[in-house]
Amino acid sequence: MLVNAYSKKVFNMAYQFSGSRQEAEDLAQEIFLKLYGSLGKYDFGRNFTAWLLTLAKNHLIDEYRRSRWERTKRDDFDDRAIAQAAFDGPERSLAREEDRKAVWKALDGLSPEIRATVILRDIQDLTYEDIAENLGLPLGTVKSRVNRGRLQLARILRPGKGEDQ
């Protein structure tokens, strides 16, 4: 069933974008409504997962374009999820819980345009070309925004690291 197979992935995409659990739930519901309405248009020659995730991503980007998230602040990252992540495997030394929490919160400090490109590139792992196509931006603009976003995040997070070490 579609909900069993894809609800987690879709919900997490929405959560990464919105930064709010409540909003992510609403977005996930909107995406599934859209999905059930579009099943008739699905081309059986295509990879279903890729098709569904593209539909979800496009919906999130459309919502982003409507500046919906300019008004909202990101919640603190869900502690339960972080606790569970400890079982996922050995953690990288520089990607500890505090780093994740800090970087999650630091995304708030970016402008919506830069935040969207950083999320698509570094969390959802899209190529620069895909981001440019999805956001309707020149490739150079996307690369420049990702670089600026990473620099801003690095500057926000760097003093904290200095104290830790």
Binding site: V3, R21, Q84, L94, D122, N147, R150
Partner: protein, 165 residues
């Protein structure tokens, strides 16, 4: 190479996108600029932390809402299918045209004068019919009143007598 110029290339350097000459240029700068070197390190940490964000579990309430969507869709599907039948399209087109015409009559200033003239024509036609009806109703009375004179005229030309013979 200046610090700001090196900063513009840090993402590309991090992702191994620079050609040999530029890469060497950045590395030379990094070797002599602790500020840019620490920024690069922080960027790498930030990127790793973003990529290592764990996935959350969707709440039971969201799952319930998502499972309910197909039922809702199924309930309205027959109505939707009926309304979207291609054979109904001319009907919708005709109705839309009629509604546009009626709204034009009802709301536009030009339409109001058209409506008045239409009303006048209808009333004039109706009045004409009424007058004809009244005239038609008075014909038997007129015939009764003029019966004697008509019969006298007929007798004088001997038409009735010949008929009797």
């Amino acid at each position: 190479m200046s610090g700001s110029h090196a900063e513009e290339m840090l993402s590309a350097y991090l992702e191994g996108e620079l050609d040999g000459a530029r890469k060497a240029e950045v590395e030379t700068h990094l070797a002599h600029c602790p500020e840019c070197a620490s920024l690069l390190e922080a960027m790498r940490d930030t990127r790793d932390a973003l990529g290592a964000l764990p996935e959350l579990e969707p709440s039971p309430d969201l799952l319930r809402r998502l499972y309910a969507i197909p039922d809702r869709k199924r309930r309205f599907q027959p109505i939707r299918d009926f309304l979207l039948r291609p054979s109904l399209q001319p009907v919708f087109a005709g109705t839309t045209g009629l509604l546009v015409f009626l709204s034009f009559l009802a709301f536009s200033p030009g339409g109001r004068s058209l409506q008045k003239s239409l009303n006048r024509q209808v009333h004039a036609g109706y009045g004409r019919i009424e007058r004809l009806y009244v005239k038609a109703g008075s014909i038997p009375e007129e015939i009764g009143a003029r019966k004697e004179s008509i019969l006298g005229s007929l007798r004088s030309v001997d038409i009735l007598r010949k008929d009797r013979e």
